[in-house]
């Protein structure tokens, strides 16, 4: 009886003062660029991770251990991402890595993570066509952003002619390929799809905007699907505004423009243009209000929240729960525990981690408002992320299931696993 009481009180003590048991720190690697071209986007995510880790430590850490953030700076240099990832896994011996933004940086760390059996949470919308055993993709796959946005264009706005404008790199290329194929399956003729690629940081948009306007000459309603990245958007939207193109005439839906990007712009002339994400700051839920308040308190009142931040929020909390469920931070155990993890979205509803390492999340479409925010005009139910798109013939026959099939690239026609490592 006495021992039981002592044990109970010891347990109480342990739960009440978890920070004391700090000799068993769990290390969380943060692999986001803090300098170079991508620092603009990734620094925010580093701060998000630090905030999440602090919040978790205040709640008592994980497994009674304190979480320790290990921040490194891969400096927007893609080979350096691989080097830093190796350093995190072998020298710092972190239990999990949250990081990367660009696809090429992800492709750079993939071989390292797979070789050393690490665990990476990748928070940004991406082009899909990949499923690594060691990566959880908490951003949107094309069917969670591009396809629903295109459906919205087709069904809600009645667009008959499409201009797919993108920056010349892998995400827009693959996304546009998928969309071209998807649109043709929806009876949009190939001639009614105009595709253009511009370099990073492009600033001379007059010709392209004029080309888009000229598309309207055959009397069909024109819409623009933009995968233009980063700074180039500023010149693009300025030219769009100068040409007097209202969202009622030629709507533009962007996949890479969020609250952060709009803060470098005067949005008065852009009201009504669209963006598709899984999260908008304007989502009216209580958890979102708390989240925004905590962020602003930590970072300053003028800071905004965005979609990749929510992806880290969900990813991190799922990982914490998975570690608790597995009772260890060991990668293989955590991975198994991750499947089926559920966590509430900031926008309402519940995100679920699927066996293909993608999330089921709702898709939101928002219209730009004058204050640089988005007015949510459409919100779907949870859409299951698809690693291999159904709209390209080669990948339609592929599927990913790490839970039962143990394969990220499984050919459903030949019923065989193409490869267990990912394609990089």
């Amino acid at each position: 009886m006495k021992t039981t009481t002592a044990l109970a009180s010891a347990l109480t003590l342990a739960t009440a003062l978890p920070a004391l048991a700090a000799d068993c720190t769990v290390k969380v690697g943060v692999l986001h660029s803090l300098s170079g071209t991508m620092a603009i986007s990734e620094t925010t995510l580093k701060d998000t991770m630090l905030m999440l880790i602090d919040q978790q430590n205040a709640k008592g850490g994980v497994l009674g251990c304190e979480l320790e953030a290990v921040v490194v700076d891969p400096a927007s240099d893609w080979p350096l991402f691989a080097e830093k990832a190796r350093e995190l896994l072998t020298v710092q011996e972190v239990d999990v890595i949250f990081g990367n933004w660009t696809s090429v940086s992800r492709k750079s760390v993939l071989p390292v993570i797979e070789e050393l059996n690490g665990l990476l949470f990748y928070p940004v919308q991406y082009e899909g066509e990949e499923s690594s055993k060691n990566v959880f993709y908490t951003g949107a796959a094309p069917n969670q952003q591009a396809i629903p946005a295109t459906d919205y264009f087709l069904e809600e706005l009645g667009i008959e002619k499409f201009a797919l404008l993108g920056t010349d790199y892998v995400y827009p290329r693959t996304t546009n390929n998928i969309l071209e194929s998807y649109l043709q399956s929806k009876d949009i003729a190939k001639d009614d799809i105009f595709v253009n690629y511009t370099p990073f940081g492009h600033s001379d948009w007059s010709k392209i905007v004029a080309d888009v306007v000229a598309l309207g000459a055959d009397g069909k309603k024109v819409g623009v699907i933009s995968t233009i990245n980063g700074d180039a958007n500023i010149g693009f939207y300025k030219e769009l505004a100068a040409a007097g193109i209202s969202a009622d005439d030629i709507p533009v839906v962007a996949f890479s423009v969020g609250e952060e990007e709009l803060s470098g712009l005067d949005t008065a002339n852009l009201v009504g243009h669209l963006a598709a994400w899984n999260y908008f700051q304007s989502a009216e839920t209580d958890t979102n209000a708390e989240w925004i308040a905590a962020w602003k308190e930590r970072m300053g009142a003028d800071r905004v929240t965005n979609d990749p931040m929510e992806a880290h929020y969900i990813g991190f909390n799922m990982w914490v729960n998975a570690v608790e469920a597995a009772g260890t931070a060991d990668v293989d155990a955590v991975r198994t525990a991750m499947y089926g993890q559920e966590f509430p979205n900031l926008t309402g509803g519940t995100a679920v981690m699927l066996a293909n390492h993608h999330l089921a999340k709702p898709v939101l479409i928002g219209e730009i408002t004058e204050d640089g925010q988005f007015d949510i005009v459409s919100q779907t139910t949870e859409v299951a992320g698809d690693a291999w798109t159904d709209f390209l013939p080669e990948s339609a026959k592929l599927t990913s299931d790490w839970k039962d099939l143990g394969c990220g690239m499984y050919n459903t026609e030949t019923k065989s696993c193409v490869q267990t490592l990912s394609n990089y």
Binding site: S203, A217, D231
Partner: protein, 667 residues
């Protein structure tokens, strides 16, 4: 550790309390008022409530029709409120209200029946209706009939906007009816034009359609072409050889020509069920897989099927045993194609209309093509003026003085950030630009003078080292800007009078900001010529550059001249930075976008001659736009080809377009 919510928490949240009270109050008001009034508007809205709340363009039609066709006078304001996202539904009873936001965050509800204030309520007791722009367009169409003769001209404009966006046969009659009463000249012109355009498509009388088309033949307007092109939509039809389809035939196509390849023609026959499909590789392999018997497919061992030829042979063997459909041979295709004729048929039944439309459009096309050339020319001119503006400072420091300043791009950036900082303090955009231009000049002039005094003057005889030292300055300045302003792009907003574009017609237009940059470039050209040719500084600069020793023995203080000239060149780069920031972006890396191009401009044009720089900018800008025109889907290629072109060009004219002759040409 999580505390479950309990009823005792209530007093802690006064807003919730207030909400409840307000809701109760509102309910009280409603129950008192409701029986006394008839509510026809609310009744109609309630009858369509499900569709309205579903808020999808595909299903909303009947609801909008019911509201618009109800004949109730209030419906115009209902539709207007709905479109402006001012219509809200009360969660408690599902009633719809117009609402406006109060300063304290609550909403002021108004009844649709009589616009009477119902009361102030908390936001979370209501659901805002957010019609998407597709629905808003439909509401706008429904509003047209109310607005065409509205006393407010802006509403009449809105109605016409709506018609031109979504023309509809039903709108033709109201539009025509409103023309007579129109007293505003601009509106009358728009109405007449719209009437013409809609007549082409929707008028039942063929003759008046043809007349309308002929009346506007050759018009450049996007709306005109957008009206005619749908009339000329064709579709492919197949007929047995010897017969012609009973329709408005546009053309007959022969298989095997550019317009219709043999394979495409055969595919049409397959789609129409008039020919058996081709056996694809996948289908062939599926058949082979399905017919494996004990490791053999039609007497061929499976292990041997590792070439296309073997697989074809095995499949043919299967086909011979009737285990698979025979492959379609080339002869089969020829036979099938000879049995059929292919026609392009207009969807529009009237040949008179299609003939007139075709002729009218052909007349437009040549003018459109010419206009597109003009537009491209304007784009090229604009790009050239941007390159010129970015390079003109360099034409002074590099062209005249021979100093390689790799930090030139950072001076451009410095100017742009100066503009941004000025805008932080001077919110009026016009005033801030007027202040920013001289400020930018002053800041970069000072930076230039400092750079010249501290670094460059020690290196006048070691040009390659100048290049490296100024590169050091360049990376330091860039990082410094990042440390101060962050990596995020900063807004530099142009004054409203520079918003918008100068549209000559629907094809040729150029934004005002680009025109301003063009004018600025011209002004700098004039300034440069003036300073170099008409001022003492210019004379001294030229003297000091051509022969520094001789110049100083003539009493010219070459030190001072070099300093001032370098400062001038840097100052102009700063002003260019403001202009570039206005039209593109302000980031710490913007300098890098222009530095290489600027050097190219100066080198291609010919060092030491401002006209050369002008020619260089014109050539590079023109060439780049030319390539973009040839290959509109890949702007990156245009830039690549431009660089390659420059490299080759310099091989043949190493001294640039306008080369200095004689001694001045010496390195």
């Amino acid at each position: 550790m999580v505390i479950a919510p309990s009823p005792f928490d209530l007093p802690e949240s006064p807003s919730l309390m207030k909400t409840l009270l307000l809701a109760a109050l509102a309910a009280l008001l409603l129950t008192n008022a409701a029986p006394a009034q008839t509510t026809p508007v609310q009744d109609i809205l309630q009858s369509q409530s499900d569709l309205i709340m579903k808020s999808s363009r595909r299903t909303i039609g009947p609801a909008i029709d019911a509201i618009a066709d109800s004949g109730l006078p209030q419906m115009q304001s209902v539709l207007e409120a709905w479109r402006a996202k001012d219509m809200w539904q009360r969660k408690s009873d599902g009633l719809f209200f117009a609402a406006s936001k109060n300063d304290d965050g609550t909403l002021k509800l108004r009844s649709f029946e009589d616009n009477a204030v119902v009361g102030d309520v908390a936001r979370n007791t209501l659901i805002q209706l957010k019609p998407n722009s597709g629905i808003r367009a439909m509401i706008a169409t429904a509003l047209v009939q109310f607005q065409l003769s509205d006393p407010d001209p802006t509403k009449r404009h809105a109605a016409l906007d709506s018609i031109s966006r979504d023309p509809d046969a039903a709108l033709l009659a109201p539009l025509r009816a409103s023309i007579n009463g129109e007293d505003d000249a601009a509106l009358l012109a728009r109405k007449t034009r719209l009437n013409n355009l809609m007549t082409m498509t929707y008028d039942p009388d063929e003759a008046s359609r043809v007349a309308a088309i002929n009346a506007m033949a050759g018009d450049l307007g996007l709306d005109f072409r957008g009206t005619l092109n749908p009339l000329l939509i064709t579709k492919m039809t197949v007929a047995k050889t010897g017969t012609t389809p009973d329709a408005n035939v546009a053309a007959q196509l022969t298989p095997g020509t550019d317009a219709l390849s043999r394979s495409a023609a055969y595919a049409i026959l397959v789609d129409a069920g008039l020919a058996p499909p081709l056996v694809t590789q996948d289908a062939r392999d599926d058949a082979l897989r399905a017919n494996i018997v004990a490791g053999y497919v039609a007497d061929t061992p499976v292990a041997q099927l590792s070439t296309e030829a073997k697989r074809d042979a095995a499949y043919d063997a299967l086909a011979a045993q009737s285990l698979a459909a025979p492959r379609v041979t080339d002869t089969d295709i020829t036979v099938r194609l000879s049995e059929h004729q292919f026609f392009e048929v207009y969807a529009e039944p009237s040949p008179a209309v299609t003939t007139a439309a075709k002729a009218a459009l052909a007349k437009s096309e040549s003018r459109v093509a010419a206009s597109q050339m003009v537009d491209l020319g304007l784009d090229a001119l604009s790009l050239a003026s941007i390159y010129f503006l970015a390079a003109i400072g360099l034409a002074i420091t590099f062209g005249v003085m021979g100093v390689i300043n790799m930090a030139h791009g950072e001076f451009i950036m410095l100017g742009a950030y100066t503009g941004y900082v000025v805008q932080l303090f001077v919110p009026n955009h016009t005033l801030s630009i007027i202040i920013a231009v001289p400020m930018a000049f002053a800041v970069t002039f000072a930076a230039g003078v400092a750079l010249e005094r501290l670094v460059i003057r020690w290196l006048y005889h070691r040009p390659l080292e100048t290049l490296l030292a100024t590169f050091g300055v360049s990376i330091a300045l860039q990082q410094l800007a990042k440390n101060i302003f962050g990596t995020q792009a900063r807004p530099l907003t142009s004054p409203t009078w520079l918003d918008g574009a100068w549209a000559i017609n629907d094809v040729v237009s150029i934004s005002y900001i680009r025109i301003a940059i063009f004018i600025l470039a011209l002004m700098f050209l004039g300034l440069f010529l003036f300073i170099m040719r008409r001022t003492r500084l210019g004379l001294e600069t030229r003297a000091a550059t051509q022969n520094p020793r001789m110049a100083s023995s003539m009493g010219i203080n070459t030190d001072r001249v070099n300093m001032l000239t370098f400062g001038l060149g840097s100052g102009i780069a700063g002003i260019a930075g403001v202009a570039i920031g206005l039209f593109a972006k302000v980031t710490s890396e913007m300098g890098g976008d222009y530095i290489v191009q600027s050097f190219m401009t100066v080198v291609v044009g010919g060092v030491g001659n401002i006209w050369g720089t002008l020619a260089g900018a014109a050539m590079i800008g023109g060439f780049q736009k030319g390539v973009e025109w040839l290959n509109p889907s890949n702007t990156l290629a245009a830039q690549t080809y431009m660089i390659v072109f420059i490299i080759i060009f310099i091989q043949f004219r190493p001294r640039g377009i306008i080369a200095l002759k004689g001694r001045a040409a010496g390195d």
